[in-house]
């Protein structure tokens, strides 16, 4: 039974009709009233920028906040491989239902059916919208859009722009946003960080933000507050997220009453450049699209130190193809990551750290070269010539990724296989939201990676961009009307209202506290310590004993942080260390909740792998009788939470053990 505090507001009707019916019956706000309704959007990534542009186009008064110097720099910019949509342009059997099914199964049966179906339904519109904006997707010679494959599916439904899909989609959404800024419909606040939500009579009514240049705190009113603030993978210190990616906005919302959904569901991406030393500040992804053409292997002999090019074909173990013949190198991420860890733990890892496996393009480079040679009618081309032609094809598909690999490692991936290892990448968990994307605080919404909604316990590749843009372009413009239609009589609340005054004073007090500790250790010192605990005990594999000790270690770390952190400089100036300090303080509190959630979930599902719960072959073992629910945590005070459960009902999909064999 679901907790009485959680109402997912899933519309009545058959799965196929829910969204259509909802859209035609949801309350509307007339154009004149929209002009006096103000919406605050925190975040300018795919979710925030698309929501801001769309809501402003509809006539709402919008304010957008981001901590970077420009909305175009939100971390969506770094997404590489592509975006899914059920267009069936390849005539390979794709459909709204199949995308829905793949997503639910990929998420290991821990996502809400109605939300995922809606996502699949609007996926096609996203591609249409982006093309109309001038997003230069990859095309075939006939002028049509090109597709590639991603993990966990057997159709080609991924649209892309070289290895820079996120950049192109974000620049599309950013240009739509800037158009509204130019017209005065959106007011932009770059280099601003949201540090609290203001709640009045139980409803979200504004935020407190810090101008990062002057250090001044500001109060902003809104009839609704939308958080599109991205994921919290940086709780692990090392991840593929940007240096500034944080949980702060979501965490402040959590502290003001928004429940946090499935915090322990973390995605560890199988193909990232391995850690090279203690100086490492972040990890770099090598897109999943590379698994279209790269084959993953380790030597068959443990501790084989030969150069990869010297190891003959029959002494290589293509372990994904061996274990999962049906999906091969394109199994979902959680499966691929665990398989890499398994090989490395068993002593088959490569490179000097032995924490790496090979991702090898050799065979496909030759295959492409042969096809090109045929196209160009070259008879009896030399092996060299074929390689060269193949190299050009690979370069066109993934050139920027290969360059990046070379910059970072000093090795040329056209000549030797890449060395890769799993790294923290994405967080499926986030603020709990209902079908309207509203959190448990009325008037406060969460969009994009910041919410928990659509990916269950594991997200499929190329589905985050889809979800971010679905939320912003096609969902929130409708669902927000349901709430704002009731708010047309609410006048803008004056900024000297006691709730604003108090929220600002609380933020100020916390800043003063951080500045006045004047301890001995840098913010990074604490961040690294937290990251290590999280990676070792709440990372790719977890167990009860480790999680319990992690919780007490994190509690100790929190105490130390508040006694001994050193934040140089002043509060009323541009102060990057102060920004980091506030974020790390929030990560420490979140880390504890993640471990608590992982400890509560006595099963393995998707990215959450509890060593105690696995099959004989080492696959994740779910417990559908006891854990087919969303864990939504309510904060009572720091370190003390109450669990609420939203039961997941599968009415259209038969829940089964996931198999990619």
């Amino acid at each position: 039974m679901s907790s009485s505090k959680l109402d997912a507001k899933i519309p009545e009707g058959t799965l196929e009709q829910k969204w259509t019916k909802y859209r035609s019956t949801v309350h509307l706000v007339n154009p004149a009233n929209k002009r006096s309704l103000e919406v605050i959007i925190v975040g300018s990534g795919l979710a925030g920028a698309s929501a801001a542009a769309s809501l402003a186009e509809m006539g709402y008064k919008v304010k957008v906040f981001c901590f970077q110097d420009s909305p175009r720099r939100a971390h969506s910019i770094a997404a590489q491989g592509g975006i899914n949509a059920a267009k069936n342009y390849q005539n390979d059997g794709d459909s709204v239902y199949r995308l829905f099914y793949d997503t639910i199964k990929g998420g290991d049966y821990r996502a809400r059916e109605a939300n995922v179906h809606r996502l699949s339904e609007v996926s096609g519109n996203i591609i249409d919208q982006c093309v109309a904006q001038g997003v230069p997707f990859a095309r075939e010679y006939g002028g049509l859009l090109s597709n590639r494959s991603f993990g966990g599916t057997q159709v080609q439904r991924t649209f892309y722009a070289a290895g820079q899909t996120g950049q192109q989609l974000l620049l599309g959404a950013y240009s739509a946003l800037q158009r509204q800024v130019g017209m005065g419909a959106v007011k932009l606040y770059a280099r601003h960080e949201m540090l609290d939500v203001v709640v009045i009579d139980g409803k979200a009514r504004g935020i407190i933000a810090r101008d990062l240049i002057s250090g001044k705190l500001e109060r902003h009113f809104g009839h609704a507050v939308l958080l599109a603030t991205g994921g919290y993978g940086n709780v692990f210190y090392l991840s593929t997220n940007a240096m500034g990616s944080n949980v702060t906005a979501a965490w402040k919302a959590h502290k003001k009453g928004a429940f946090f959904g499935n915090p322990c569901y973390t995605q560890i991406h199988p193909t990232c450049i391995p850690v090279s030393g203690d100086h490492q500040s972040k990890l770099t992804l090598m897109s999943e699209s590379l698994r279209n053409d790269g084959r993953i292997w380790v030597p068959k002999k443990a501790g084989d130190n030969r150069k990869p090019t010297d190891i003959p074909e029959d002494e290589r173990d293509y372990y994904l193809e061996r274990r999962y013949p049906a999906f091969g190198n394109l199994v979902p991420r959680d499966v691929a990551s665990r398989a890499a860890k398994e090989r490395c733990d068993a002593g088959f890892g490569v490179g000097s750290s032995k924490l790496a496996v090979y991702l090898d393009f050799g065979a496909n480079m030759m295959r492409y070269g042969q096809i090109e040679a045929n196209k160009q009618s070259l008879h009896n081309p030399s092996q060299e010539k074929i390689r060269e032609l193949g190299r050009d094809v690979v370069k066109e598909k993934y050139g920027n990724l290969f360059d990046m690999y070379k910059q970072i490692t000093g090795e040329d991936p056209y000549e030797v296989p890449m060395r890769i290892y799993p790294a923290v990448h994405y967080t499926m968990g986030g603020l709990w939201v209902d079908y309207n994307l509203m959190t448990t605080v009325p008037g406060m919404y969460a969009l994009g990676e910041a919410n928990f909604s659509d990916h269950g316990a594991n997200r499929l590749g190329a589905s985050a961009l889809m979800q971010g843009l679905a939320d912003g372009y096609f969902v929130i413009p409708y669902t927000i009307g349901d709430y704002l239609s009731e708010e047309i009589r609410t006048k803008a609340i004056p900024l000297d209202h006691e709730a604003f005054v108090k929220a600002e004073a609380d933020v100020q007090e916390r800043i003063n506290k951080l500045m006045n500790i004047k301890g001995t250790k840098s913010v990074d010192h604490f961040h690294k310590a937290l990251g290590k605990i999280m990676w070792d005990k709440c990372g790719m594999a977890r167990n009860a004993e480790g999680l319990k000790s992690a919780i007490s270690e994190i509690q100790k770390l929190r105490e130390e942080f508040w006694k001994d952190v050193r934040v140089p400089g002043e509060a009323n100036e541009f102060n990057l260390e102060l920004e980091k300090a506030g974020r790390v303080a929030d990560f420490i509190e979140l880390g504890e909740l993640m471990c608590k959630d992982a400890l509560n979930r006595n099963e393995s599902c998707g990215g959450h792998f509890r060593e105690e719960y696995q099959t004989e072959e080492g696959e994740a073992m779910r417990d559908d009788d006891n854990y087919a629910y969303v864990a939504a945590w309510e904060m009572k005070e720091v370190g003390n939470w109450e669990l609420h459960k939203e039961e997941l009902k599968y009415e259209n999909i038969k829940i089964a053990q996931r198999s990619y064999k």
Binding site: A53, S54, E57, Q68, S70, P71, I77, A78, I127, D128, Q129, C130, V131, A132, Q133, G134, P136, F137, A138, Y141, G143, L144, A161, Q164, Y174, S175, A176, Q178, R179, V181, G182, A190, I213, A242, G244, V275, S276, G277, H279, Q280, S281, K282, T284, G351, S353, M404, Q407, I408, T409, G410, E411, R419, Y473, F474, S522, D524, R566, P568, F574, E577
Partner: protein
């Protein structure tokens, strides 16, 4: 630990320090030692900052975020070159193996009237956002689009548009130019949209508005030195400037505002 053969370096850094936009700045000298050749330039700065914090001094402010060469936030002027000595990389992707033991490295912020210094190495590039807001878009509201494959675009045009759209808006072109011109940045967006059928209806007003805004922001004139292209980390081509000049000429002769 990578295959490249890690070494360590001892370096002298001369770094621009400036408290804020209202004060004068100066170069400050710092020594760092034991820098791994596998580090990125920014990780070397992390090491320096950690050292400064431990010594009770103020760390050096610099902009950075994705650290994978795509967000366009990092912006250091290294030994007289935006993003440093290597062609085609941003500062965050510049690795210390590009330097030698004992080197002295001078690091300054982007220098341009249109990019005022905020603190140390961080500058204000919001002028770029205002230029985009003046016309760097296709006016299509959400929900108005037809099926994506109804617009056919020859692959070569799509590729050229993509190459122009690959601009990361870092401002290296402006920093590299002796006149502080933003022509490469502006022309990349104008070109992207001029190459695509979706951009045509507004092509004339777009180029006029964006160039107008660029001038208003105080960027300098283009005198065709090509320094911008040479320093662009994403290889944005000068051809875009030529295309924009053609578009501008055509538009200023024929565009009638109604």
């Amino acid at each position: 630990m990578s295959g490249s053969g890690e070494k360590t370096l001892n370096l002298t850094l001369k770094v621009w320090r400036q408290k804020n936009g209202n004060t004068k700045g100066n170069l400050e000298t710092h020594k760092v030692s034991g820098i791994s050749t596998d580090m990125s330039f920014l990780e070397m700065f992390d090491v320096l900052n950690e050292k400064l914090i431990n010594e009770g001094k103020e760390p050096i402010a610099f902009d950075h975020d994705c650290r994978e060469g795509i967000c366009g936030m990092c912006s250091m002027y290294i030994n007289g070159r935006p993003h440093g000595p290597k062609q085609g990389v941003t500062t965050c992707q510049l690795h210390m193996r590009s330097f030698k033991d004992g080197d002295t490295i001078t690091v300054e912020p982007w220098r341009s009237v249109a990019f005022p210094v905020i603190k140390d190495l961080a500058v204000d590039r919001s002028a770029f956002d205002r230029i985009i807001a003046s016309g760097g878009f296709v006016s299509v509201n959400t929900g108005n689009a037809k099926d994506a494959n109804n617009i056919l675009i020859p692959k070569d045009d799509a590729d050229d548009a993509f190459n122009a759209a690959a601009c990361i808006g870092c401002g290296a072109c402006v920093a590299a130019c002796k006149n502080g011109s933003a022509m490469l940045f502006v022309s990349a967006k104008v070109s992207q949209l001029a190459l695509l059928p979706q951009g045509l209806p507004e092509a004339k007003s777009r180029v006029l508005n964006m160039v107008g805004q660029m001038d208003e922001e105080g960027f300098g004139n283009c005198t065709n030195t090509g320094a911008c292209e040479a320093e662009c980390p994403k290889g944005i081509s000068l051809e875009n400037i030529a295309r924009m000049n053609r578009e501008y000429l055509k538009s200023s002769l024929t565009y009638v505002k109604k």
